[in-house]
Symmetry: none
Subunit: 210 residues, 4 copies
């Protein structure tokens, strides 16, 4: 739910008005919107993002191209909405007592989310974002930030508790935790395997300890 809200606030024009339908003119077709997102989702299953064209999405959705261009500024925005609005990508975490355990749980959850199909899609979104600076922002806002902030919270707490060294650079520590995961995702995705998932969080968090 948090994800949904964040997404909506991020994708411009996604919901044209907060008040329920007060604007003049023909209203947006929800059928088209769903058809577009559906088509996108289905194509993401078996096609690299690079090879998905607005044109193809429009054709598959039975919709004019303009309808897509009106509501989403980039392919990246469309894909992000289609992708993130699916179940299993929310970042709801159980509350755990220790800051170190919380970090580990967060990392495990992330790795699990990035394995297989979904991982490929995220990798492709990151790739796409290299040529579309706005998309990079969108990616950070709709996917990265909540993970980052969660890590930051626990790191700060851990520093306060003396679990981690007080002069540890928090931003850098966050990147030390997340970096290896995305590095594998992008340069050697098969290495993001079960073994990695069961050892990496432990080793990564422990090396940060005071």
């Amino acid at each position: 739910m948090a994800a949904e809200a964040a997404l909506i606030s991020v994708v411009p024009n996604s919901n044209p008005g907060s008040n329920p339908e007060k604007r003049p003119g023909r209203p947006r077709s929800d059928k088209s919107r769903e058809a577009i997102l559906d088509a996108t989702r289905k194509m993401l299953m078996h096609t690299p993002l690079r090879d998905i064209s607005i044109e193809a999405v429009a054709k598959r959705a039975g919709v004019g191209k303009t309808t897509i261009y009106r509501w989403w500024p980039h392919k990246a925005a469309l894909v992000m909405e289609a992708f993130l609005a699916q179940p299993g990508l929310q970042n709801i975490l159980p509350t755990t007592p220790g800051a170190d355990d919380a970090l580990k749980v967060q990392l495990e959850k992330l790795i699990r989310q990035l394995r297989g199909q979904n991982g490929r899609i995220v990798a492709n979104i990151i790739a796409e974002a290299q040529a579309e600076p706005e998309a990079l922002d969108l990616l950070n806002k709709s996917f990265m930030n909540e993970r980052v902030e969660n890590l930051r919270r626990h790191l700060t707490q851990g520093k306060a508790e003396g679990l981690f060294n007080a002069d540890l650079d928090t931003d850098m520590a966050i990147d030390q935790l997340l970096g290896p995961v995305f590095y594998r995702l992008l340069t050697n995705p098969e290495a993001l395997d079960e073994r990695f998932n069961s050892h990496y969080p432990e080793q990564a968090v422990n090396t940060l300890k005071a």
Copy 2:
């Protein structure tokens, strides 16, 4: 020179035979080859990889499109050869006494190489490689591996010397060192700044210490 050799062995057909020219037919034109790589290099200076077309490279190089397609299977392969065969990307490192210092020096060198223009290009190559599995291999073989192997050597040595914990997973440790660098490169390139360069290698290597 090591880079050159590695590259040649990696790009298929780049050197058609190891014995000096025994094949029939008109031999490959070195002039064209250079013109193509030159044109590619120049376009990389000011254009995002996504917006560089084979067509444009051919035109700028004064060469037929076929000549490019004959020798390079992808845009990624072409770009990789053009980019990596330039000076300043070799990974020649001064020999340093301690394994920990050696690791830091390697990381600093890498960060310096990935800042600015070159960093954008590498990021774009990684992005391109997401849709072209062969290109990912090529990237690993021609750029990543020498860095990785260098780190591995020093990590192994460090473990032998008791500098690092003996049961540290070396592969994972390598990714812990490299991951954050590429993670920033891809998701927040401005963060790959001077400050990062002067603190990250120290902090990263130290957290690995026994």
Copy 3:
């Protein structure tokens, strides 16, 4: 006008609906249509059909290639429409009293139309049609048939009047009249000269007489 109508009914999609424009979406651009036909006509003046490329037509007309491919299935179809829709190719004949004179007039008119530039174009269309069976149909429907039918009418009438032998095979007689004209056009175009025009119709029609 008859030619125009015939042509339109023959070229598929040329007029997308018989009712005057009720479909959604942007309507076909008449400006583009005219520009394309114009460009084609102008290129036909000085270039053999074989050397006219769709690409060049598009460029000269200031039009996207797709627009041409959307509306014309072949180069032959395009050329045929461009060529036949020009003035001087309609087959309006003065009514003459005798069937034999009518035949002569029709042949003279045809020979005059096929001399010079226009003849070359028709010859090229016939040539093009050898590799494109659809184009052969189109040629027959839009150019040949009206001449053929006119000849048939007068031959039938002539047979009824006893001017020609009653058991003359009409189809064959038509080909006996037209054949030599096209034969010269294709194998010896210079022979389609003034002398031929002033003697052939007379001799051809007379040999058919009872």
Copy 4:
């Protein structure tokens, strides 16, 4: 045999010198020559002339492209030699007593030669020749002329015998006989059928009679 001689004298460079092999250098390879003509013939069986490329002929014949370009100036020249040098295309006619019968026999022979596969090829050659003036000459010299001259001989004889009107224009009469055949071949090849063969020569020759 006459055909062979005529052809050789027509295709330039086909026999590089009149004296039998006195020149220095490696002599022309007859094996390659045959392979090229064979390959061409085989491709003509099932491919429209337009879609036969020199490149493909060379590959099929196991021959360098240059070898073809060295000896034949056009595709049309190559095809003409390949096609005409096959059996069944010589125009050897039994001597018949009457000039009118001789004409009929010549026409029947021609129609039989132009039915089916061979007819398509001739049509394609005529088509090709529209864009290649030299080829038109070659076609006339190597195929048309002997038929034309045969018709002329018999027409002249017939006029002398009083069988045909003395002031009949011979050239025009020739075209009246041949025209319809080629006209059907090019614009309506299915009409070149058995029925046509059994009626046309009779009707055509008879209409010429005094």
